[in-house]
């Protein structure tokens, strides 16, 4: 029997360890685990019950005297056995505690993992949102910068186009601009919003049927404002003699590098410079929305002058009948002056004397946002979908094709 001093020493030992290890983190008894679940607990209890087997007699044992004598004789052997049994019991109890601790560790690790995963997901969402916001802000800043540059550029153009204070004519006509910021801006806008070169080429193929029959006339096609030169490239591919005139020096330079005949200058003015009846076709893609109405009229006058009878005038421009274009995408290009509705352009051409005036909408893909609506059975909804298609998801561009009339 230990005396109190020994036990107090144990109290001290436990107390000191507790005080020292108050900050320890590690295995824990589990909320979900009990000794019953481990199985080891009951094994240990059973082992403990029988650990003294063969060394003691039950109170009611028969032949107690003889058995006790036998026990005394066998004590040499059973003494070690009892010690061994006790060690096994202790080992089982220790193992049970370890199992409990491990299970508890797993249980708490599960909770912590769950929390960790939640935090990672939350953080990742936050990072994604931040990146999206930064990208949005960057686009907004870039658009703002481009707008400011364009404003400055237009201001410079206006300033150059004004008569000098001494009454002498302006040093440069409007829409004649060297490779300055405005040119660079427009080049960027084309890249950003118009579409890739290949896209544009594909879109323009719908006009080949109108143009190519004129090839046999042996006269060239003039493309006003060819930009990146997709249409001229298409003409070259179909061996149609064609050249362009562009005010944007950057485009001219690039086109020349591509082996295209593009001249730097004002295309509208150029029409007045060429001989009468000297061009098979005049085309202008995405040009008329950049120029004042007077300039449009001058362009039509020039085309009537330069085209051969039966020659083709093709003007392509954004389609403001598509509300999304008219209210939004049209204005993405700050050099756009005003949208021109198809009916207006058609009327102006007819009014100028062109014949066979036709408004043509290129084919356009179904917007996937309407796909699910289009599939529904409800007639009202389908009607509404059709309206939506026309007014919001219709063609982004349209063209007016017209012929110079033959002489009376």
């Amino acid at each position: 029997m230990s005396d109190s001093t020994d036990i107090v020493a144990l109290l001290d030992e436990v107390t000191q360890r507790s005080l020292r290890e108050s900050g320890r983190h590690g295995g824990v008894a589990s909320p979900e685990v009990s000794t019953h679940e481990t199985g080891i607990g009951s094994a240990a209890a059973a082992a403990a019950q029988h650990s003294h087997m063969g060394t003691v007699l039950g109170p009611g044992a028969r032949f107690g005297l003889a058995k006790r004598a036998l026990l005394r004789v066998t004590r040499l052997i059973t003494r070690d056995q009892v010690a061994y049994n006790a060690a096994v019991v202790e080992a089982l109890q220790s193992a049970e505690q370890q199992v409990l601790r491990l299970q508890a560790l797993i249980a708490t690790a599960d909770v912590n993992r769950e929390v960790g995963e939640e935090r990672i997901t939350r953080d990742a969402d936050a990072v994604r949102a931040a990146v999206r916001e930064m990208a949005r802000q960057r686009e907004a800043d870039r658009a703002e910068l481009q707008l400011q540059r364009a404003r400055v550029s237009l201001f410079l153009q206006e300033a150059r186009g004004l008569p000098a204070s001494d009454g002498s004519p302006a040093s440069q006509p409007r829409f004649h601009e060297d490779a300055d910021d405005a040119g660079a801006l427009y080049s960027h806008l084309e890249e950003r919003f118009r579409g890739s070169r290949d896209d544009i080429r594909v879109r323009q193929t719908i006009y080949l049927q109108d143009v190519l029959p004129l090839r046999e006339r042996g006269l060239p096609l003039l493309d006003i404002g060819p930009g990146r030169g997709e249409w001229l490239d298409l003409m070259r591919e179909h061996e149609f003699p064609a050249y362009g005139v562009d005010t944007n020096a950057l485009f001219v330079e690039t086109a020349k590098k591509d082996g295209l005949d593009v001249r730097h200058g004002d295309g509208i003015a150029h029409l007045g410079d060429v001989d009468e009846d000297s061009l098979a076709a005049v085309t202008a893609f995405q040009v008329v929305e950049h120029i004042p109405f007077d300039s449009l009229r001058r362009l039509l006058d020039g085309a009537l002058h330069a085209l051969i009878p039966g020659g083709l005038l093709l003007l392509e421009t954004p389609n403001p009948a598509n509300v999304s274009v008219g209210s939004n995408s049209f204005w993405l290009d700050p050099t756009h002056l005003r949208p021109i509705p198809p009916d207006l352009l058609q009327f102006v051409l007819q009014d100028h004397g062109f014949v066979d005036v036709e408004v043509r909408f290129p084919a356009w893909g179904e917007d996937e946002r309407l796909a699910s609506l289009a599939a529904v059975e409800n007639d009202d909804l389908r009607t509404l979908t059709e309206l939506l298609k026309q007014d919001f998801f219709g063609p982004k561009d349209y063209a007016v094709l017209a012929r110079k009339p033959a002489p009376a």
Partner: protein, 396 residues
């Protein structure tokens, strides 16, 4: 928020468990995720802090080593995944968390307010227990100091935190409520009603004091409700006190309860007589309600009670309550001569109070009525407000 409620699992469902269920429900209703983290007291390591404890040491100081094993387990809980932790019974306050609120029911009482009577009763020997008391308080202090806010369940428990641990500034009250009682179940007490004692039969709830008192209050009838380790001891004691020759009127009450409840120490009565006390053991809620309803009064004889739920339940049933002046929080709940009587912890003191109630119907009615009003002050609404006030100090 993800909130963990840590508690030692004693494998019993009592008042504390009911209260914690209510707290968890309250937190969940507020949109928090609540996890219960019980630690099975039966599965605590026999090697606290890796120290090998001999069987002799276990036999003489098992409570200490078991307690330290629990301290170790709670200290080692990995609670980083929780946003807040609520600890409950001792020593769950050893759980470590920066946002730690301890809903403090009581200390490990045999090392605090019951340390002396525990030895006096013979459960422990003074030098060894005194050594254990010192060390437990030392270890507790190291853990209690890390708790942000304490919510003491009564002024009595609040006082103990102040007196034993110098904890004042971060101790608030969260006093549990008592459910309102239907009018039909809270009728006026009748002088011929039984005298009720509702108590677990554990040391030092002192049901022994009650059965002794009832012998002196004969012909009043007593009813004892509750289970526990000393139930058989109380039964035998009642049988002996009822017998001829026990001379109940001249026995000192104190030795009857201040012992380890060893049934062998109770003399076997030579001639049995019918007792005026019915010892029912545990009963269901419905039966308990009936017993409250039909009672003359409740006697709550416990020593240094933390809270005193049964007293409040009886008062909600419009019954006066007799408590002892060393009854801890019981003596705060009951106002002497207003909602019951606060008497010396003797059979004579209790019996005299019972007789007063039996003999004065007007007084009985008045005290019952006032008791019901007093119980109505212990609302769950107040508990909720106090609970949130405490939780807000760490949620902030």
């Amino acid at each position: 928020m993800r909130i963990g409620i840590v508690k030692p699992d004693f494998h019993i469902i009592g008042g504390a468990e009911g209260l914690l269920k209510r707290v968890a429900g309250e937190l969940r209703r507020a949109g928090h995720r609540v996890s219960s983290i019980p630690i099975d007291v039966k599965a605590v390591s026999p090697y606290p802090y890796g120290v090998h404890i001999s069987p002799e040491a276990w036999a003489r100081a098992g409570n200490f080593f078991r307690y330290m094993g629990l301290v170790e387990e709670f200290s080692a809980l990995e609670l980083g995944g929780f946003d807040m932790v609520v600890s409950t019974q001792p020593p769950s306050f050893a759980a470590r968390h920066p946002r730690h609120v301890s809903l403090f029911f009581h200390h490990e009482r045999i090392y605090y307010d019951l340390a002396q009577v525990y030895c006096d009763a013979g459960y422990a020997t003074p030098p060894l227990h005194t050594a254990a008391v010192e060390r437990v308080r030392q270890v507790d202090a190291s853990r209690l100091g890390e708790v942000r806010t304490f919510l003491a369940i009564s002024e009595e428990v609040q006082r103990r935190l102040r007196d034993y641990n110098d904890l004042i500034g971060n101790v608030q009250l969260a006093i549990p409520g008592v459910d309102a009682v239907d009018g039909s179940d809270s009728q006026e007490p009748a002088p011929q009603g039984h005298v009720l004692c509702v108590s677990r039969h554990e040391f030092p709830k002192r049901a022994e004091l009650f059965v002794h008192a009832m012998k002196l209050a004969d012909p009043a009838k007593g009813v004892v409700v509750g289970g526990g380790g000393r139930l058989e001891y109380v039964r035998r004691l009642d049988a002996w006190l009822s017998s001829e020759g026990s001379d109940a009127a001249h026995i000192d009450s104190r030795p009857l309860w201040l012992n380890t409840g060893d049934v062998a120490t109770v003399p076997t009565p030579a001639v049995r007589r019918e007792s005026n006390v019915a010892i029912l053991g545990p009963v269901d809620d419905e039966r308990l309600t009936e017993l409250y309803r039909d009672a003359l009064c409740l006697v709550a004889p416990a020593f240094l009670e933390d809270f005193g739920l049964t007293a409040l339940e009886a008062m909600a049933h419009a019954k006066p309550v007799i408590v002892c002046d060393d009854g801890g929080h019981l003596a705060r709940i009951v106002q002497d001569g207003v909602t019951g009587f606060v008497v010396p912890p003797t059979a004579q003191g209790i019996a005299a109070a019972v007789q007063r109630l039996r003999n004065d119907a007007g007084l009985l009615r008045k005290l019952g009525c006032q008791a019901r009003e007093r119980a109505a002050e212990f609302t769950w609404e107040r508990f909720r407000e106090q609970l949130w006030a405490g939780l807000d100090t760490v949620m902030g």
